[in-house]
């Protein structure tokens, strides 16, 4: 029972279909503890869907997803809620609660799930806002913020519970280069200081290679390559090479469109 599994998240032959349309067809992936895994993949390829499977928001049509050795798809609603408290999710489109102020958005999980006092909560909120450079937005409503600002608040909310596993869905998309680097450094320092495992979905190659300790490429519903960043850079897999170089010539666009 108490053996600590070597990998934080593991996916075994995971399939997922929306109706007739199969999005993921046999994902095998293992994320070691404390790793920073960058997942690359085409737009619409199912990266966000993959993260939802880890959180248990979607259930695989076949195969299994485990978190710390426990099968996510077999957990009851209450067990899932407990598991999710150990996972932070940074949404692609922020997903802030629009009726709550920035402060209340960040405070929400703390107020609901911990027994911290108001002062402690305020202190934590300020601390995390500081980390993402948004200290002056504390009392604003989400609607008053720009997309990039919302994204950073979303990130701050994702890490507020000091999670063991952090899922970043395109954390630096739409941010200026300086903030983007700040976010990259934040991702690295979070994993080094707290020892959190991170899964990062991104399209930006620079930041991908900056933060990754592991890399995986999702293509046509399967993980076609999983390796270290160095070997990814020099990969002779034509899909990976084309994706990293961002070339128009190659297998990616020529492949028949899956519908």
């Amino acid at each position: 029972m108490n053996t600590t599994p070597a990998s934080s998240v593991e996916m075994k032959d995971v399939h997922l279909a929306f109706g007739e349309k199969e999005i993921l067809s046999g994902i095998n992936l293992s994320v070691p503890q404390k790793a920073r895994l960058v997942i690359l993949g085409q737009s619409g390829g199912g990266k966000s869907t993959l993260l939802r499977l880890i959180l248990g928001i979607l259930r695989p049509t076949k195969g299994e997803v485990t978190f710390k050795g426990l099968t996510v798809s077999r957990m009851s609603r209450l067990r899932l809620n407990r598991m999710r408290q150990k996972i932070g999710m940074v949404y692609q489109y922020s997903a802030l609660i629009s009726s709550l102020s920035v402060r209340d958005n960040l405070a929400l999980p703390l107020e609901e799930l911990t027994r911290k006092s108001r002062d402690e909560i305020d202190q934590l909120v300020d601390e995390k806002l500081e980390l993402v450079g948004m200290a002056d937005a504390r009392d604003k409503m989400p609607a008053e913020l720009s997309g990039g600002m919302r994204k950073r608040i979303g990130l701050a909310r994702g890490i507020i519970m000091d999670p063991e596993l952090i899922l970043y869905d395109e954390p630096s998309a739409g941010l200026d280069p300086v903030i983007s680097s700040v976010i990259n450094e934040l991702i690295i320092s979070l994993s080094e200081k707290i020892g959190a495992t991170s899964i990062i979905v991104t399209h930006e190659m620079d930041s991908a290679f900056k933060v990754a300790t592991h890399m995986a490429m999702l293509y046509q519903g399967t993980i076609i390559a999983a390796d270290t960043p160095e070997r990814f850079k020099n990969s002779d897999n034509p899909v990976v090479a084309q994706f990293i170089a961002g070339e128009t010539e190659g297998p990616i666009l020529q492949a028949p469109q899956k519908t």
């Binding site: 407990r82 408290q85 996972i87 999710m89 997903a95 609660i97 629009s98 609901e112 799930l113 519970m161």
Partner: protein
């Protein structure tokens, strides 16, 4: 080729989903309380009770007042031809306490509050807010659905009382003016003709209708698909479904009550 599922089957599926929504919400709240914490934020609960209850008093009173008045007037004129207009207070009293009060209030609350719940939760669903709450492990059912369902559940019966009183006032007023029934006699005859059984039936119905409206509207909101248009469709469908379900259960209740007590 995909065959569209039969309407009976989809109805049964929706019905079981609504029942599961109730069960899961109860479980989430129960789990919370076992840990010695409040099942949901009372500030949200009070916000909803304020909106559902206090906010609806004007509408309910106005509509019930006029319906009570009209009913007394119309039945009064008919009964007057037989010299039986003294039956008016009992007639209005019985109709409202056991039937019209809960039914009218249910319909108005489904339109006013059920629609709001669906639109709110639907918008939150579409913008991934509900999912984010779920992903944090907060439990969107206890956090969002719990306080809303409980607010209508407890407030609908209170509004039914308001509806009954205003309807009786409307009837009393018109009876005094059109049929020369003094207020004191109106109250006495009304009280004499009303039965405890009718009042209990009305109360049970009120709680039941509140539960139905709360669950249906939250269910419709949480299952919205397809952006702004989806929220619009869900809201319409929520009001229609809640009203028809309320009327359906009302009929069912009446049949059961008549079968049990043969009145």
């Amino acid at each position: 080729m995909q065959r569209s599922p039969s309407p009976i089957r989809t109805t049964l599926q929706h019905l079981s989903s609504v029942v599961w929504l109730l069960v899961d919400t109860g479980k989430e709240m129960g789990d919370r309380m076992m840990r010695g914490r409040l099942p949901f934020r009372f500030s949200i609960f009070f916000e909803q009770t304020d909106r559902t209850g206090v906010g609806s008093i004007a509408l309910i009173s106005l509509v019930s007042f006029f319906i009570g008045l009209t009913m007394a007037l119309l039945t009064g004129y008919q009964l007057q031809t037989f010299g039986q207009e003294r039956l008016v207070p009992g007639l209005v009293g019985i109709s409202f306490t056991r039937e019209l009060g809960p039914l009218m209030t249910g319909i108005m609350i489904a339109a006013r509050i059920g629609a709001a719940y669906t639109a709110e939760l639907g918008t939150m669903t579409v913008s991934e807010e509900v999912e984010a709450i779920e992903a944090m492990g907060i439990g969107p059912l206890r956090f969002l659905v719990g306080p809303r369902v409980l607010a209508v559940f407890f407030l609908l019966p209170c509004l039914v009382v308001v509806s009954n009183f205003t309807a009786m006032s409307g009837a009393a007023l018109i009876s005094r003016w059109a049929f020369d029934i003094p207020f004191t006699r109106f109250i006495d005859t009304a009280l004499d003709s009303m039965l405890i059984r009718d009042i209990i039936a009305g109360t049970i119905k009120s709680f039941l209708f509140g539960l139905i409206i709360g669950l249906v509207s939250c269910y419709k909101g949480l299952t919205v698909k397809g952006g702004a248009a989806g929220v619009g469709n869900a809201t319409t469908s929520s009001v229609v479904t809640a009203i028809t379900t309320v009327i359906g259960f009302d009929t069912l209740c009446n049949i059961v009550l008549v079968a049990l007590f043969d009145t």
